[in-house]
């Protein structure tokens, strides 16, 4: 019987920030099974990172004990640290060292003998596919490659327990799949035990065991099926609404007894509360309810949404918008030196459409955004937004767009109200009108309680809402969202998309990039990009159909995406 890789007994940990004390872990007890992958899942601020750091001996618990491989994590931290591998959220790489040098450093630190190194090195290179990049500086690697290098660095001396703290945040689906392939091999071939925290619910399904934590407490622990099983018979695909899927989704979400309603392709996926039968309204004769298999995500939302107040969706007035194309690019190209970031991009986004840009890290999505918003001059080609080129258009033309960047760019030391107030005025709103809009934003985005708090101290989900509210102060016709949900927990993501839906219904054109394939399903049309080129353009259903192969006749969007990218490479 192997030693238990990790055992936590009633662990408490709180941090003091100024006068306030913040309780991160409130009596966590759990035990890991050896030789399998355990997923640590929970919303932002649930205490995932704190738990990882406690297990690695970087923090000392206020009360309770953590045993790692039979040793006390805080008393014997040095001994523990020589047996485990730990990858922090930011990978812990030295960006000015090369791939090879980073690996050598960790081999030295972990005391890997010189004789063992070549074989180990070769194996890691083969596993991660970093072989050809040995001399490249870590800072010049793409996000996916950094993540794999970070992983390789923790593996130079095969650890008995591997701790990975949100290894897949901000990483594209292809890289994520490769990471999982490595993880599966480690478990199968080296018998390693893994604890991995993640915000991607589809990844939970790949874990042998899942620990669900929320507000510093363990909600439940067990195989993923344990979370979805109780929902059998309560999950449905609803299709066939005469007024379109978005209206249908909004109606369903508002219905009592519906725990969750999200867009999935042409259908709406609905999770019903226990004991409540779906009943079709008399007015909706054409709507069909079709039972489907529950997934882990359904279980997660069902468990966590119970204690959570459903916030009302923002009232977004449907302003009459011009029809036609809101965004048109012709041969849009951008080079940085020899590197072609965007290569002859030609797309047209119709007014009132939610248009998604998908692509691996470094595919040129952000560069495209920056060119469209007039932040970066194109090397060649033209981009017209709302009929004008924003780089040369009069400043007033910019009042028609809203832009929300990857990092939820806010003035972190200003309060929510001050941020909103500033953006309202920067967009030329004044007096009563500005006050009305700020009040609207605080109300519609559920920020009223936190209006006076410094925006930098807000939880990520609130920062995201605030950033979006700021981009909407002036009621733009066109909204640019660059990875708006990266790192945000699943519940916050759902709320976010409800808002996007409402906006789209109001006639706003939305251009969005994302790494979450479930979110790509919410878009009307998608463009899949790789190395600056568009590989496929169409509705989610069309994209999936394009990627169908005899082996996988009905791929989901993630499979379709990976097939397209790999066919290109």
């Amino acid at each position: 019987m192997p030693v238990c890789p990790l055992r936590a007994l009633d662990v408490h940990k709180s941090f003091s920030a100024g006068a306030r004390s913040l309780c991160a872990l409130d009596g966590v007890s759990l035990e890991l099974r050896p030789g399998v992958v355990t997923g640590l899942i929970g919303p932002d601020g649930a205490g995932k990172t704190t738990f990882m750091r406690l297990a690695a001996g970087l923090l000392v618990p206020d009360a309770g004990r953590i045993q790692v491989l039979g040793l006390d994590a805080s008393a014997d931290s040095l001994a523990v640290q020589s047996r485990i591998g730990y990858m922090p959220q930011r990978f812990g790489l030295y960006e000015d060292l090369s791939v090879r040098e980073n690996l050598d450093l960790y081999a030295d630190l972990q005391g890997v003998s010189v004789a063992e190194r070549p074989a180990r090195h070769e194996r890691l290179m083969e596993m991660t596919g970093l072989g050809p990049f040995g001399t490249r500086l870590a800072g010049q690697l793409s996000g996916g490659m950094k993540q794999k290098l970070g992983l390789a660095c923790t593996l130079v001396n095969p650890p008995h327990l591997l701790l990975l703290d949100e290894p897949t945040v901000g990483v594209d689906p292809v890289s994520r799949r490769e990471l999982w392939a490595i993880v599966d091999r480690l478990v199968a071939e080296e018998g390693m035990s893994l604890l991995l925290s993640t915000a991607y619910l589809d990844e939970a399904q790949r874990c042998a065991d899942v620990v669900l934590i929320h507000q510093g407490r363990v909600i439940d622990q067990g195989p993923p099926a344990r979370f979805s099983a109780p929902l059998r018979g309560r999950t449905f695909h609803v299709t066939g609404a005469p007024d379109g899927r978005r209206r249908l989704q909004a109606r369903l979400a508002a219905r009592p007894g519906v725990l969750d309603a999200v867009l999935q392709g042409d259908a709406v996926r609905v999770v019903m509360a226990e004991g409540i039968q779906p009943a079709a309204d008399a007015s909706e004769e054409s709507v069909r309810w079709e039972p489907v298999e529950p997934r882990f995500a359904d279980g997660f939302v069902a468990l966590l949404s119970q204690g959570r107040d459903r916030i009302a969706l923002p009232e977004i007035a449907a302003v009459s918008r011009a029809s036609g194309d809101a965004i048109v690019t012709e041969g849009l190209t951008r080079r940085f030196g020899d590197f072609v970031a965007v290569d002859r991009l030609s797309v047209a986004v119709h007014a009132g459409e939610v248009f998604g840009l998908l692509g691996a890290n470094g595919a040129g999505k952000t560069t495209t955004f920056r060119m469209l918003c007039g932040l970066l001059p194109p090397s060649e080609g033209r981009a017209r937004v709302a009929g004008v080129d924003l780089r040369h258009a009069p400043a007033e033309a910019r009042a028609r767009i809203g832009y929300m960047s990857q990092r939820f760019s806010l003035y972190t030391n200003l309060s929510a109200t001050q941020n909103l107030d500033f953006f309202a005025r920067a967009y030329g709103l004044r007096g009563a009108r500005a006050r009305d809009r700020v009040a609207w934003a605080l109300d519609a985005f559920g920020l009223a309680q936190l209006a006076g708090a410094e925006s930098g101290s807000l939880p990520l989900g609130y920062k995201q809402r605030l950033a979006m509210a700021a981009a909407l102060m002036h009621e733009p016709d066109i909204l640019f969202l660059d990875e708006p949900t990266s790192g945000v927990d699943p519940l916050a993501r759902r709320e976010f998309w409800s808002r996007i839906n409402a906006l789209a219904e109001g006639g706003v054109t939305v251009l969005v990039t994302t790494h979450f394939m479930e979110e790509a399903e919410y878009c009307d049309r998608l463009a899949v990009m790789a190395a600056g080129e568009v590989l496929a353009l169409g509705t989610p259903a069309e994209i999936k159909a394009r990627a169908a192969t005899p082996e996988v006749p009905r791929p989901d969007l993630e499979q379709a995406f990976i097939t397209l990218i790999e066919a290109h490479a």
Partner: protein, 375 residues
């Protein structure tokens, strides 16, 4: 053969740090370019020695006596005389900053001189820059007294015999300010590498999260500290060697002490500076704040409170007391003597002891405060 894990870990850290230094242009800039730039600036550009000072000579009535007086100023290396026919013109020139001072010979100067009547010479200097003004007064006095002596000899008037000061300046007879600015500047340079650079790079590891990854490996705190200190120690010493070479061969500052004393004292000071840099970064964990504090707590005092530019003895008692906690003060005292005077043990030993004490204090405190924890 199997290398011991401890050696292996240390080697890894040292190699990492060295590679990072070599690849980071800003650390090389602070370590080598900035010191060289400062040395050149101070060595060539900055000087307290006034030469060719424009001075106005107001000659209201030309005469042989006045001409010989003007001649005395013409011969002096300190002055570039300009002649003005009236006091009014002279004053205007002084007001416009055309000249730094005026010397006024009244219209009846020659007559009074011949008639053995009192013939006062008025000197007016611009006191805005008090130091330059005082030096200027001294120069005028010098030119005047040598003119007086020559004139007396020519007229065979016996000068009354009195005290004759025989002034000898030790260590720096020609009073070249470069000889005292350059050694002091070495201290400023070393502070840049030791404290500012170290504080910045260590704080960067906190910020980028690399220290977190480092801490979950089996390295010990001592290894992390040594791995950080040694490369910057070498860098600081490299900068020092470069600066000394420039001082000796480019600026021809004499070196009258022994090199081994210089090496030992530099080591002590650099350790103290590194200790301060480490301490600042451990306490702040933030590059921006660490940079600000390093400039305020190490760089500025090295400039102002070390005796490098301004005489400590003339500061008010409170400020003098503060200078005792400035490591640079002790090193400036050692360097100025070492370069210009020699191995003066009565001076070197107490100052070196103070440096050793400060190094031990800052390094010890850093060791105590740095834990393998994130709290």
């Amino acid at each position: 053969m199997r290398t011991r894990p401890r050696t292996l870990r240390l080697r890894g850290l040292l190699r990492k740090e060295s590679l990072q230094i070599l690849r980071d242009p800003s650390s090389l800039a602070i370590a080598f370019v900035l010191p060289v730039f400062l040395l050149l600036l101070f060595g060539y550009g900055v000087s307290l020695d006034s030469k060719h000072v424009p001075i106005g000579l107001v000659i209201e009535q030309p005469s042989a006596e006045a001409a010989s007086f003007v001649g005395a100023f013409r011969q002096s290396v300190y002055f570039v005389p300009r002649l003005y026919p009236s006091l009014q013109d002279g004053r205007a020139a002084l007001r416009n900053h055309d000249v730094n001072g005026i010397v006024v010979l009244d219209g009846d100067f020659a007559q009074r001189l011949k008639g053995d009547r009192d013939a006062p010479i008025q000197v007016v200097v611009s006191g805005t820059d008090a130091n330059s003004a005082r030096l200027l007064e001294g120069y005028v006095q010098g030119v005047w007294s040598s003119w007086l002596q020559r004139e007396a000899q020519a007229r065979r008037i016996p000068l009354p015999v009195a005290v004759e000061p025989v002034i000898r300046i030790w260590f720096n007879p020609e009073l070249a300010s470069r000889n005292y600015l350059v050694p002091g500047l070495l201290v400023v340079n070393m502070t840049l590498v030791g404290a500012l650079l170290t504080a910045l790079v260590f704080a960067r590891e906190w910020e980028r999260g690399t220290l977190e990854a480092l801490m979950v490996t089996p390295v010990t705190i001592e290894e992390i500290l040594i791995g950080k200190l040694l490369p910057y120690f070498v860098l600081g010493m490299g900068g020092m060697v470069l600066s000394v070479i420039m001082a000796l061969f480019l600026f021809e500052v004499p070196m009258r002490g022994s090199f081994w004393v210089l090496a030992v004292c530099s080591t002590l000071f650099l350790l103290a500076a590194l200790g301060m840099g480490l301490l600042i970064s451990i306490v702040t964990r933030n590059q921006f704040v660490a940079g600000m504090i390093a400039i305020l707590a190490t760089f500025l005092p090295a400039f102002l409170l070390s005796g490098f530019l301004f005489d400590i003895g003339s500061m008010p008692p409170l400020v003098q007391a503060i200078t005792h906690i400035v490591a640079a003060r002790y090193f400036v005292a050692i360097l100025q003597s070492l370069f210009l005077a020699g191995d003066i043990w009565t001076l070197i030993l107490p100052n070196a002891a103070a440096l050793a004490l400060m190094a031990a204090f800052f390094l010890g405190l850093s060791r105590r405060l740095l834990r393998k924890r994130l709290e």
